[in-house]
Amino acid sequence: MKNRPRQRRSAALAAMTIICAGAWHGAAVGDEQVCTPYGAGSQMSIQAAGPVIYKAFADWGKGYLERNFEREPTALTGGISTYCGTKVKMDLQMGPFTTRDELFDYSVAFYSLTGPVLPCGSQKVYSWKKTGEYSAPLYEIPNYPPDPEYNAVLTTEDEAMLPLCATRFNGPALSAQSIVAIAKKRRSLPSMIRLARPAEGVGGQYVKVTLEPAAERWRLDCRAYTDPNGDLYCSYTAPDRPTVHTYKATWAFERKEDFSSAQGTITVIPPTVVVGFFNGVWNTEEQAGDGLSEIRSLVGPKYRDTLLRYENFYNQTGTANGNTAAQDLAEVFIQRGNELDGVLTERWEHYWELLSGQVRREGSLTQRLLAGLRDGATGLSDLIDSLVSSTLAGFVKGLAQLMSSPPTAADTAAHLTKLQELADEGHDFVLIAHSQGNLFVNVAYDGLQQSRPLVKASVVHVAPASPTVRGKHVLADIDEVINGLRNFGGWTVQPINLWLNGRGSDLSGHTLVGTYLDAGRGAATAPGTGATTSPRAHTKELIIDALDQVAPASP
């Protein structure tokens, strides 16, 4: 520093402030840039609040020279004074940091200036290297022409015309997620701790991690530096019993000082199995959730000592094939609704009851309407029956289309991502699919097995509208939708393995709740034999069997 030529210029703060135009390095949405005309003796006041980074730089036209100031200054006593062509912040107290060099005091983040400062009136070449480490200034002119990424050329003749700018932007900050871990399991945590600016992660930074209670520190194993995405890879070994651990991550630049810190918790829960439901044909999301709730009421909140978490994986018929089948069903309702003086055309509640198989259920809106009418009830009832048959035909058509053009990995990508997230948390799975949901569950299950081979998962197929299965299935003899696929479409479907006594109000014999979870009817597992079970009990048996596979009894 002693040999460095310098021309100290201390003067009053330049009064006028303008907003700089043009592109500048490192800008991001929300950043603020303030400039002042640069002249001999100019100073710039940096005024901002909050935990931010100030980046002051001169836009020299041919390049730029930037200075980074980490954290908000606690005091600004001397403003910015200038050397020829560059500006050096003097007497700026940066809180806990130690002043080392006039030029490098605050270049602690990503760039350190390493170029020489030449006398005014001559050409100057500045270079700096991309590093977080302190670099001693060079006292020789680097290679010329300069590397455009790391060098700037400026000529001091234009000095008076150059703007001096400061940028206030949201600086890198640590974030720490609170996560859930399963007892007795080791969990990889690739992105639990992250150092990032709003637009990008910041790699190569040292992050110190502590865990409370300290005696359990060994359970959380983290790398020392963030990866290029700003993530700090950790893994956690959970204890045998549920508990909560608190961890603290601290960004310690050059291992010396705290720049940013964040805290999170690791909640250790008992072993949990996710019961995932893949809904059937024409289910709305509400109906799919209702089906899942019915399954929960059937199985309960836990199995042995294992907690069950119920998750709905919703798919809609026809989304993959342009929804033509869905439009067809609505069109039929509109056309037929015009009959009988058009009484149904503005009564779409019956359309939804048709789709959910509720029109013949006692107490349904449709039944209440029919029951309340005298003359004309028969005609309306016949019309509704006709619509039922059209709807069932629509079900079959929709499934046939889906089987012709089955869901692909892309169609189930979001579901697979969720399954993988849950698998990474340490969950195992029982996946239950109904009707068309079987086409979706097969793809999702295969993807899960391929990407997370150690995860335990079993599948229960209810009324499978799929040529292949991944687990046990139940298919009723009265299932008119699957029978329609088999008998009239020639599709390969699974064999019937449940024979029911009579039909319920679910005319399709296909709905999850109305048929396969019906407790009111007897059922046999072989043709021509007496009823030994009910559809509900039989379906529960399959689910329990699947749970046994992923959550076996402790020895």
Partner: protein
Amino acid sequence: MRKETDRAASRCRNVMRSVLAATTLVILTACGGGSGGGTTSLPGSGATSTSNPGNGATGSSPGGGSAGTATSPTLREQIAALEQSGGYPKLDRSGDIAGPDANANGVRDDIESWINMQSLSDLQKRALLQKARALQNTLLVDLNDRTALQKAGEGLMASTNCGSLHFSPYREFSNLAGQIEAMTANTRQRAERYMKYNAARSGSSTRLPDGNTCES
């Protein structure tokens, strides 16, 4: 009672006959193109006009009620009278998707009236109101806002879970919730909007929560 049962059984047989016939036609239509993507014909229009023997009688017959006489009220008049008497819910059928909500509680007024008329406990009615509010939200949520969509889906699940806490067996709640769903999307405009909501939710995953998710 016996007659009613026989009539229902007969009706059921007729329906199944119609289903098989309609299914045959549909499968032929659906499979003819091979890929399944190019089918544009309406299965119901073709199938029902050729397969349902009852159609001729129900479609344009005066017995259907479309040409009522001076002495017997038309079907439309009968339904209006039924609604007036409280035998069937009198629903808002305006072109407005949201419909009236005078007290701004997120539940359409006609559906709120229907819920309040049920012989249920206060907690049960509140659970149904929560379900109605969650369903109404599906008609109003911004379909381009994925966060809002997920929140709407979670609202449905929370209300389902709330219902499971206050109804036993759960099916009692489920049946009422199903009717609220049907009443919520009870016009063509609302039905179309509800279909769009469900299409937008395809591919989503939502947890069925535990604990008390009832709104206060």
